[in-house]
Amino acid sequence: MTAIAAPLDVSSRGRLRSIRPGLIWTLVRTDFKARYHGTLGGFLWALLKPMCMFIVLMGVFSFLFASNPTYKLDLIVGLFLWDFFAEGTKSGLTALHARGYLLTKASVPSWILVVTSISNALITLAVFTVVMTVFLAGAGHMPSPSALGAFACYCLALTAIVVGFSLAASVLFLRYRDLNQVWEVVLQAGFFIAPIIYPLDILPERFHFYLYVWPPTPVIEFSRSVLVAGVMPTARGHAYLAMDAAACLLVGIAIFRQLSPRAAEFV
């Protein structure tokens, strides 16, 4: 039997601040296992979707943009980052609902349920980073260590954006059960708003600002800039991305803090 702890007011969810590594690891591992049937083959099968997408788009659009010698490299960078954004936000949005069976059983830190739900998308991104680096090296564009470092920072910013979105959307999804369908439509439009299959400079410059408001755009453009063109974006650009990521994360945390204490009542 454990010793008596200091009195705790459970009316204020204070204890939910505690981080439990065992719980985090179990959630990540079981999520991976449930999704990919616990096998490497299942995981590789999941990688097939974006790979096939890449091959099809490359086959079709490389003819259209034949004048752009780095089109294939730009496409692979854009597509893999987009895949992380789309998969991460979709998993995050339904995280509390999908793990509602844990939320109603004990005083479990609900933010951990949301944050760990994007772990699969993160693992896929890590694998794709290796695939992408090999592809770039094969095409004679081996990224420098500083380029890879900058790319890691952009991935971190995108992760903050995905986490911020997931925190807010997961609690809202418990109240609005068709948000996943709405988000599917937004993602479909967002795929074309972000310059993934086309180079940004085919659009008039006056529209660029609007495209940069869509969070994946600066991440994709900056990543291409450092990995493919070998050019570091401006400090102003970096400041914009950092502020964008921080704003998404803070707004997400604020909405989550407001709504999550009563999340179990809506499961």
């Binding site: 039997m1 454990t2 008596i4 702890a5 200091a6 009195p7 705790l8 007011d9 459970v10 009316s11 204020s12 969810r13 204890r15 439990r20 065992g22 719980l23 690891w25 179990t26 959630l27 591992r29 079981t30 296992k33 449930a34 069976y101 844990l102 939320l103 109603t104 059983k105 004990a106 005083s107 479990v108 109240r175 609005y176 059960r177 068709d178 948000l179 709405v182 204490p261 009563r262 179990a264 009542e265």
Partner: protein, 256 residues
């Protein structure tokens, strides 16, 4: 010394005249305002549980028992009042429905065990014991979607009895499994109590409350109606049930 202090706790749910759960329903119903009915589930409930004591909570369906347990365990937040807990609680709420059907028993035990606060090393060390208690050693690698409700409930109790830290909160204990499993649960419960664990038991069964509790409460309409010895409360609970069953009949005979 009180390990749980419930001080004037109230909880109400707003029940809408029309349930709207989607963005589409909210948009289409924007010109049709809903009426909300306030359902007061708990109303200024106060009590305390002392270290090493077993408290029974009885009451009819809808009297607020399950909501009260969820408030004690930190699953729900009270609208007003305070719940102060000075010891770790292991809740056993609605067992048998809290599993991931796509995972086998071992992974589910790891998941629920870590949610209940056990370390992974502790769970792995106790895995054989947990499976043996639930008599599920042969089905350890079977996905939970293939389990019967009885099997998954047995597994739930086996994990909870292993995970118990200080206070054990049990919703309808000993209502699971066959006679052999119930006897094992009762033995385990007595062992835990003998080693000084505190327990809160919600039950409809007067025998359970009278046998396994030191003190009991009778909840009705979200308020504590009586507080006393388990035998007293069990009798009063049976009387309220009888009165509730007689009232509609006498009303019907008066009307005729």
């Amino acid at each position: 010394m009180a390990v749980i202090d419930v001080d004037r706790v109230s909880k109400a749910f707003q029940i809408p005249s029309v349930h709207r759960q989607t963005v589409r329903e909210h948009l289409l119903g924007v010109f049709e305002p809903r009426r909300f009915q306030r359902l007061q589930v708990l109303d200024e409930v106060s009590f305390e549980v002392r270290q090493g004591e077993a408290l029974g909570i009885m009451g009819r369906n809808g009297s607020g028992k399950s909501t009260l347990l969820k408030l004690l365990c930190g699953v729900y937040m009270p609208d007003s009042g305070r719940v102060t807990v000075s010891a770790p609680i292991t809740p056993v709420l609605e067992l048998g429905v809290g599993w991931n059907p796509e995972l086998d028993a071992i992974d589910n035990v790891l998941l629920i065990g870590s949610v209940m606060g056990l370390s992974l090393a502790d769970i792995r060390r106790s895995m054989d014991e947990i499976l043996a208690f639930a008599e599920l050693e042969r089905f350890a690698n079977l996905k939970l979607k293939h389990y019967s409700s009885g099997m998954s409930e047995r597994l739930g109790y086996a994990v909870a009895f292993k995970a118990v830290r200080d206070v054990l909160v049990l919703d309808e204990i000993f209502a699971v499994g066959d006679a052999g499993f119930k006897a094992r649960c009762e033995t385990k419960y007595r062992e835990l109590r003998a080693s000084g664990h505190t327990a809160i038991i919600v039950s409809h069964d007067p025998r359970v409350v009278a046998t396994f509790c030191d003190r009991a409460l009778l909840l009705d309409g979200g308020r504590i109606l009586f507080e006393g010895t388990p035998q007293e409360i069990s009798q009063r609970y049976v009387s309220t049930l009888t009165a509730a069953a007689v009232q509609p009949q006498s009303a019907a005979s008066t009307a005729s």
